[in-house]
Amino acid sequence: MPEAAAAPMLALTGVNTHIAQYHILHGVDFEVPRASLTMLLGRNGAGKTTCLRTIMGLWRASAGAIRVDGRDITQAATPEVAQLGVAYVPENMGIFAGLTVRENLLLAARSGEPEAKRLAWIFGLFPAMKTFWNALAGNLSGGQKQMLAIARAIVEPRKLLLVDEPSKGLAPAIIANLVEAFKELKRTDTTMLMVEQNFNFARTLGDTVAVMDSGRIVHTGRMDELAGDAALQTKLLGLSLDSHQ
């Protein structure tokens, strides 16, 4: 494999983040391989969301290095990170409630208008986006809002998708739809880093995994290996997969 292709899409080295007087990330090291989905797991308060926000430049790393596609973005402002091709779906979805579905997507298409082919593909992934094209995003259901947040992130091809707890608070049927959508995204070789609390969701989609605890990475490896090791799950996450069934 050529060296450039083998290099990870995202690499964090010794990343520290302070929020006000609090030291949240303590030397975080992990990599996200290209064309794969890496799950970032951990208990509540482990620092997963802080990690995503630090990559996105929403909080500034106080030490360490963050590289996207080989480029150092440690001190880059959020718009610069986004312009590099990094899309972010925050935990609260971050949709613009007062804008329509169409306007939300239009805004996310930075290079101009959304391409017809791309839009058709998104409508295939999330038919509700077509149905509610002219509806205010604030009037959508929780699941539809999540679909819009993801659709907005992929309205243009991106190098890297950062997704924070996409299944949070959603009904099982909606989660199943999201799983299918992410599987389709994986087929397009999109690189993703996803924070998730739902272990079943994580196991179904994840290729690789990084587990955080108290602001540090305490485990990295293949997702299927973690899914098959109940003792390791208990040690790292406090609960085994069986208890999530």
Binding site: A77, P79, N134, A135, G138
Partner: protein, 342 residues
């Protein structure tokens, strides 16, 4: 919009839950006007009061619209907004005074040749001052409301004194150009020409702002930024540039409103911005922070109510705005057209 976007928008299925304007607050304007008619008793008087109220509302809207955007988008409590109004008024007065010869010709063309540069000077001067305020005073205190109040109040006081230094401490009389002075009669109602002009300019400003906010990408960014600036940045847009643009535009609008207000009052003084600031804040709160449509409706309600109560119960006129605000907030605690803040 791309062909796909356009075709999706035309798709019958896509049209099901189309966005609808909330008409109830907007309907309050004609409802209040019609409700006042039997109380006023005389149709000509009612027409005169209604036009006066609408004109006052339009001028308040011009002065307040920038503040509501700054409030909504930048989360800045700008108590110095009044200085942009005053500086705009002084800018217009300076130009009009120097071009008084044109205004003596009693022709619309020569009046316009004085008024247009005066209004442009008001917008430019207030916009420039807005740029200075954003860069020097407000940027260091983003996110800290207490410091914003203190520093903008301080800025207001300092610049009021600077107005005295530049233009002198006395009130400057500002005669209106001849063609917009006086009244014309419709039926039996006397309608002041200047008030009609204020209504037309106000409507034009509202239409321009509505089109800009709802039909352009910049408008889309501003509306999105009012809701969730962090997410706008996460989509790759530099929100700080947008902040500066909105602040300067908002200050320029205040300058335009100040120029119109000064010609309405036929005088200019350094405190004129401060004098209308309370009414402006009431309008911004009634309308819903960050909402231009809300600001427009709120300003019309305030203008109409002030004129009707001023005629029917003069002793209540001063309190009518406060009463209106209380009633609106009891009905809709986040204002007539609340913006969904993230």
């Amino acid at each position: 919009m791309s062909s796909a976007a356009a075709s999706a928008a035309k798709d019958p299925a896509s049209a099901l839950p189309a966005t609808r304007l909330d008409w109830i607050p907007l309907a309050l304007v004609p409802v209040i006007a019609l409700a006042a008619l039997p109380m006023v008793g005389s149709l000509p008087t009612w027409v005169t009061l209604t036009v006066a109220g609408l004109a006052m509302g339009m001028m308040i809207f011009m002065m307040a619209s920038g503040l509501t955007l700054v409030f909504g988008l930048m989360d800045v409590l700008n108590f110095a907004h009044g200085i942009f109004i005053a500086v705009g008024a002084y800018g217009a007065a300076t130009v009009l005074t120097r071009m008084s010869a044109q205004m003596e010709a009693q022709s619309l063309a020569s009046d316009l040749s004085a008024m247009v540069p005066a209004v442009l000077a008001a917008i430019a001067l207030a916009g420039l001052l807005g740029w200075f305020f954003e860069r020097v005073l407000i940027r260091p205190v983003y996110g800290d409301h207490l410091k914003q109040i203190l520093i903008t109040m301080g800025g207001l006081i300092v610049f009021e004194q600077l107005i005295h230094v530049v233009w002198g401490p006395d009130i400057i009389p500002l005669p209106r150009p001849g063609t917009i002075t006086g009244s014309f009669i419709v039926g039996e109602a006397a309608i002041e020409r200047y008030r009609m002009l204020a209504v037309i300019v106000g409507l034009a400003v509202f239409a321009a702002m509505w089109l800009l906010l709802n039909r352009t990408r910049i408008g889309l960014l501003v509306r999105a930024g009012v809701e969730n600036p962090e997410m706008v940045e996460s989509l790759g847009y530099r929100i700080k540039r947008l902040f500066i643009g909105v602040f300067v535009a908002g200050s320029g609008l205040a300058g335009l409103g100040g120029a119109m207000w000064a010609m309405y009052q036929e005088q200019v003084n350094a405190q004129m911005g401060m004098q209308v600031l309370v009414v402006i804040f009431i309008v911004v709160i009634i309308g819903g922070l960050g909402s231009v449509v809300g600001c427009f409706v709120g300003a019309l309600l305030v203008g109409l109510l002030a004129n009707y109560t001023g005629y029917l119960a003069p002793k209540l006129a001063l309190g009518s705005n406060i009463l209106l605000m209380v009633l609106v907030l009891l009905w809709r605690p986040r204002g007539l057209y609340p913006i969904g803040k993230a």
